[in-house]
Symmetry: none
DNA sequence: ATCATATCAATCAATAACAGTCAAAACCCT
DNA sequence: AGGGTTTTGACTGTTATTGATTGATATGAT
């Protein structure tokens, strides 16, 4: 059996098996212990798997893989900058809507320092807020499994009961013609309601969201203040006026 | 079985049941007591779980502090028995209210096997339910920081919109004269509403709750079916009729 | 509070898996 | 076919993991 053939077989086995024992491989591949060990060492050096005592395991479990996605250092850093800037206008005593999403999640740390009431549809957001001692109201309704966001008719109806000083919203697409868009109909409906109920709305978005268009339009560009780290090219391109707040990274 | 394999199996088991016995692991993993204990020590050092006498518990259970109180092996075992018995009457297609609390949390695993809609005021409950693919509605409102339960006027109002086939409630005190009681006024109000909206209510309580009285009375003893592992002494003492369901441990 | 039991941490010897080395075998090219 | 390279399998000493055993500690029942 050829070297590459063996190594491919090892990876194939790992695809469906999570872990493989060295012994097991010695039998199945009909190779010596040394050879198997060498193969494993090679594959580990190539980043194809991780060796463990007695064999090897898959490089990433599914969970870890999803956690990796889109979570580059730069993105997180930008999100924190955006969150800090957006929250900087908040005064004590205000009532705030905090949309579900990873960028808005970064706001929590900065909101915790102020005496505010926060309404949110993000379950992780609500948990983090109460743990930091913030007066928190969680919107009720159906739960979107992937994002742990509460959505649906019940949620919208409940949201209509509240009036907000500020609303902080995440957004997936920002486009000069198509405005602000998201891929999910129900999330869009909730965002629209929040916009209506808020005295002033802020949309938090890093540069990766610009020039993207998604399925549902939430509102026009000038219905909310855009908070971002994106630079001048975008300011001109989107024809943003001074109402729009830009944070130069 | 490889080290990592074993440790992954331990964590997988903990994901299902809040605690595992060392003995149980020795059998299932076919490893010595020493090895199991070493694995637990390693995983604890990595912050993957918390060791308790006789085994280990999940790191972030429902509520860190409440978990400290009574996450003994025996208590959890009883709670699982109670939960299993209580849920055994549930049929496909029913709509269920699941109260916040650690005993009701144990119901989730058994509910996941059925095609039901679950309404809950427990945030950890809601998260666990959606992750198991159960159609879940979370009640909105204020959040009680300690227990991560949603309570308050908004929550009660929202709860009144729903009708339930069964309601599964936790309870802190069970007493022949004072009935069913809890320490928190707002939680009591929500439990009362749930009782009203449910066709049949079940109160899940282990032996430690008997003969205790707390601040607020929720209802009379015979307003709900009591599901417990407590034995004969209590059945007589509380003068329970056959409407009350008892599970002999 | 006290005792019987179960669980614990710590230690140790036996075993299994390890990295590194080397010579034989297989491979490749001319 | 022959010289050089690569790959392989056996062997070495070293290290990691394991299960049994010890006395200490915690738990539950009386």
């Amino acid at each position: 059996m050829l070297t590459e053939e063996r190594q491919a077989a090892i990876l194939a086995l790992l695809e469906k098996q999570q872990v493989v024992k060295s012994k097991e491989l010695v039998e199945q591949l009909d190779a010596s212990e040394s050879t198997v060990r060498r193969d494993l060492a090679t594959l580990e050096a190539e980043g194809e798997l991780i060796r463990i005592h007695g064999g090897a395991k898959k490089k990433y479990t599914i969970d870890e893989e999803e956690a990796m996605e889109d979570k580059t250092i730069k993105n997180v850093h930008d999100k924190r900058l955006i969150a800090k800037k957006a929250v900087s206008t908040v005064q004590d005593g205000e009532t705030i809507y905090l949309d579900a999403g990873s960028t808005t999640y970064e706001c929590i740390e900065f909101l915790a320092a102020k005496k505010v009431t926060v309404v949110t549809n993000g379950i992780p957001h609500a948990v983090a807020l109460v743990e930091k001692g913030v007066n928190t109201i969680l919107i009720g309704g159906q739960i979107k499994p992937k994002t742990k966001a509460v959505v649906g008719a019940t949620a919208s109806a409940q949201l209509e009961q509240y009036q907000f000083t500020d609303a902080f919203l995440g957004m997936n697409g920002i486009h000069s013609t198509y405005g602000l868009t998201t891929p999910d109909v129900e999330e869009a409906a909730l965002k629209k309601t929040a916009l209506q109920q808020a005295n002033q709305s802020y949309v938090l978005a890093d540069a990766s969201k610009f020039d993207k268009v998604h399925f549902v339009r939430v509102c026009e560009l000038d219905d909310a203040i855009l908070v971002t780290t994106a630079g001048n090219p975008w300011i001109e391109r989107l024809d943003l006026d001074d109402k729009t707040m830009i944070w130069e990274a």
